[in-house]
């Protein structure tokens, strides 16, 4: 009974990587499906902005509209999640030197989190400014 609650380390070592791989696979697919409509919406929106002149005021107004702001935040979150999973696989597949592999995976996590937080903060600050 106790062993069911306190999983022995060997059990965790055996099953954790497998569950992580399944999560990775599943999240990559779910984010991919979500990105289909979102990226088509973004392309259409960027054309609309370009056609109306790409001025600072137009971009500011476009981002600060509630629907756009929510969709941009959703898009950024799903995009950077999908991007992180994809680049992680590329690093795991092609970088065979142990220290470089670990270093690049950590750098990826930090860089993706950083740029994601910065862009989300920017969208919110534009919304609050207007």
């Amino acid at each position: 009974m106790l062993s069911r609650v306190y999983k022995p380390l060997s059990y965790v070592r055996l099953f954790r990587p497998r569950r992580e791989a399944l999560n990775h696979w599943l999240i990559q697919r779910v984010t991919a499906i979500a990105l289909v409509p979102l990226s088509l919406w973004l392309i259409a929106s960027i054309w609309k902005i370009v056609i109306s002149g790409v001025t600072f005021e137009i971009v500011e107004q476009w981002i600060s509209s509630p629907i756009n702001a929510v969709l941009i935040l959703l898009f950024l979150g799903i995009l950077f999640w999908h991007l992180k999973l994809g680049l992680q696989v590329v690093i795991e597949d092609y970088i065979h030197t142990k220290w470089l592999n670990t270093g690049m995976l950590i750098t990826l996590k930090v860089a993706v989190s950083g740029i994601f937080i910065a862009s989300v903060y920017s969208v919110i600050s534009i919304c609050l400014r207007i």
Binding site: I43, F56, L79
Partner: protein
């Protein structure tokens, strides 16, 4: 006994390029290139939040010839990665695995990606010129 470096996959250089393998590599290549596009998108949003002066810099870069070339390349990469991604999703549910359908869907992906890029730029540029 020391064993020298072990052989590592994928052995890209020993295979003759085929439509299937080239499309598979292109999926990764476009993915990596689109990651750079995502950083550009984030920088564009960050520049808009930082004020007109910073926004002017990102607009200057994106409307330069190198910026427009990058946008054109990114737009095709989005459509290619999207179409081939849908092809992957069909494989995930077990459809389209035969050699014949793999080649057929591969050709459809390439043609559709170029068609969608042309449609996007066609509509966009027409509306830009006739506004």
């Amino acid at each position: 006994m020391s064993q020298g470096p072990r052989p590592l996959s994928p052995h890209l250089q020993v295979y003759k390029p085929q439509l299937t393998s080239v499309l598979s590599i292109m999926h990764r290549a476009t993915g990596i290139f689109l990651a750079l596009g995502s950083i550009m998108l984030a920088l564009w949003v960050i520049s808009a939040a930082s004020g007109p002066e910073y926004y002017g810099w990102s607009l200057w870069f994106l409307s330069s010839w190198i910026g427009i070339a990058l946008l054109a390349a990114w737009s095709w990469c989005i459509f290619y990665h999207l179409c081939n991604g849908v092809r992957h999703l069909f494989w995930d549910i077990g459809l389209g695995f035969s050699l014949k359908s793999t080649y057929l869907t591969g050709r459809i992906v390439v043609i559709t990606s170029f068609a969608l890029t042309a449609i996007s730029w066609g509509i966009g540029l027409t509306m830009l010129c006739t506004r």
